[in-house]
Symmetry: C2
Subunit: 366 residues, 2 copies
């Protein structure tokens, strides 16, 4: 079996090994601070009684599940705390597949590369629906691709890599299409706290037994390395998902769950708003410099990423490595996200040096 | 799809909800202290720069993999750090299955219940080989069960639940049987630091492209809730296992990995020896009281467990719940470990009250 291994780690390693100063815009690793209370949670953990160093409940600390359920307006029994949003998506897609109601997974092109890889390890087939050049997804195209062979439709809003935020109308339609085809909409909402448009619509707003919502704290609390995510299942689907979670991982890491719980309880809206403001400023700075360089780009409505295109410089891995060596800017090859973005590069706005990066790109492509 | 959900969490919940004082001997949660340096590692983490809160390498922190490789005498490239030994076993069994060299998994009876469940989610078929009443495994029986349909043989020594420690001869034979059938021996050695017999033999001692060794720090450092384990793959099998790990979990939790690294580096042999000594004392205390009660039992050569049998009291879930309510002792039903142990109960020696527990059992069955 051949997997499509995501290229992130390979590009990051190449950038780290370069002989020159490189501005790293490869991965979705926030460079801003996690909440102070999250650090406090770890510090506190160090002094807990030894029994707190043992297994948490498999589906996650009760208080954390309650906190998530209250915030998302669902029953606590529907919530499974996972080893990051990555595991949440794996569980959701597996749960959709094991209903024996089709083995195709409908994905968008461009696509977050882990989804096709997960499809493969689950024995499913990928079916791609093209998004518009600005990232918009036309539900009519999804409806055309969906059939009784469809096990799941995986959607991600705010979207990585396009930055699109799907309007409520689109999300409603995606749930309807899942229902019409006895499929499951897997709605990955991990960037929900980075909606820059004010238009973000969660799939939870559409009551249905055919949608699973995944999310996590890697982005919202700036802790991609802690691995705390969650999935919200319809009541009829949750039991088997909990079993799979238990059989694959037993449980997630408990100190990380506790630190997230403290941060959730004690972090006010200012923290999240300040990070959105930081991102808005970076979007402006980076895209202004891209304008000056005469590059095509998509202005994100949410998430961390700008896709850009430079005349005569396709988004191959080879060109990304050349850009690291010759321009000192590391991005991701567009081809990693699908055929539709082969001409493009993706830049993550996770460095204070976004303006300098755009200036380097402008100078290089001049 | 129906999974065999391990019963641990259900029995623990029942014991916790009981109206009376219950001595909890259900789960393999050590009640002894983790090393002080592990706590120190968490405390230190709280003050690290924000970049240490982001993704670790998918296969684990480099320094941790190096430390594991040095201790186990393997190349660092063979080591994948996992979300506990549970994920390590999942990856190992999946890797064996995806070679398209058979879909049967040979397991022992009695068996650690997660293995059959993992077999099911991987689409494999279980084939059980009976261990002797004292837990010994006869390689001739395994050879008879193995065939070209065998993808993997899963062995666990020191064994949960029997307490058997397989001699070097047995381990050598198991590797040979895997080789003869183009199968993989998955050797789960998570209790290696709790060998009370001095006879523990790792499968790593037998060089072969047909064995994967899994282990972790849940037991050796008394941190089942941290979720740090590892698998050691033959060079030809490691790449796909890393991809699956990345696609399912992205990475393990970084603060937990760091705390384990510090504990590994700074914890001397005294720590491990003191815990073995504690267990030896508990084995003596518990089995002496069982002798007084006239119960049958197996005296463990390693791991944390004693299997015991009381005349006319089969090891059903119902009887375990009755024992919680009426005797105030919580164990695991033997039937959870396979048909061969339906008459038995398993007691984990993870409480200082083992003698009191045995006295309660003696009084109850008197």
């Amino acid at each position: 079996m051949e997997y499509e291994t995501p290229l992130f780690f390979r590009v990051m390693a190449y950038a780290a090994d370069a002989d020159r100063d490189v501005i790293d815009m490869v991965s979705g690793n926030p460079d801003w601070e996690p909440p102070a209370t999250l650090r406090e949670g770890l510090r506190e953990y160090a002094d807990f009684d030894a029994d707190r160093f043992q297994y948490p409940p498999s589906e996650g600390l009760v208080e954390l599940r309650e906190e998530i359920a209250a915030r998302r307006g669902v029953d606590v029994e529907q919530v499974v705390v996972t080893n990051g949003t990555g595991e949440a998506n794996y569980l959701a897609m597996a749960r959709a597949m094991e209903r024996d109601a089709g083995s195709e997974i409908v994905l968008t092109d461009p696509v977050y590369p882990y989804y096709p890889g997960k499809t493969t390890i689950l024995g499913g087939e990928q079916r791609f629906v093209a998004a518009a050049s600005d990232g918009r997804l036309d539900p009519a195209d999804v409806r055309e691709a969906a059939s009784e062979e469809t096990a799941a439709i995986v959607a991600n809003s705010p979207n990585n890599p396009t930055g699109a935020v799907y309007p409520a109308e689109t999300v409603r339609e995606l749930v309807a299409i899942a229902e019409e085809n006895d499929a499951i909409l897997v709605s990955d909402e991990v960037y929900d706290h980075y909606d820059l448009s004010g238009r973000f619509a969660s799939a939870l707003a559409v009551d249905s037994a055919h949608r699973i919502v995944t999310s996590g704290f890697s982005k919202s609390l700036a802790i991609t390395g802690f691995r705390v995510g969650y999935a919200i299942f319809p009541p009829d689907l949750v039991a088997n998902a909990k079993s799979r979670h238990m059989l694959v991982n037993v449980a997630g890491s408990r100190p990380a769950q506790y630190a997230v719980l403290r941060a959730l309880r004690e972090t006010g809206p200012d923290y999240y708003e300040a990070n959105r403001e930081l991102l808005r400023d970076r979007v402006d700075a980076f895209t202004n410099a891209l304008d000056a360089a005469g590059a095509d780009y998509t202005r994100p409505e949410g998430a961390f990423y700008v896709m850009a295109r430079f005349e005569g410089y396709p988004g191959t891995l080879e060109n990304v490595e050349r850009l690291i060596d010759e321009a000192g800017v590391a991005g991701m090859p567009g081809e990693a996200f699908g055929a539709s973005r082969e001409e493009w590069l993706r830049f993550a706005l996770v460095t204070p040096r976004v303006e300098e990066a755009a200036d380097r790109l402008a100078a290089y492509f001049e």
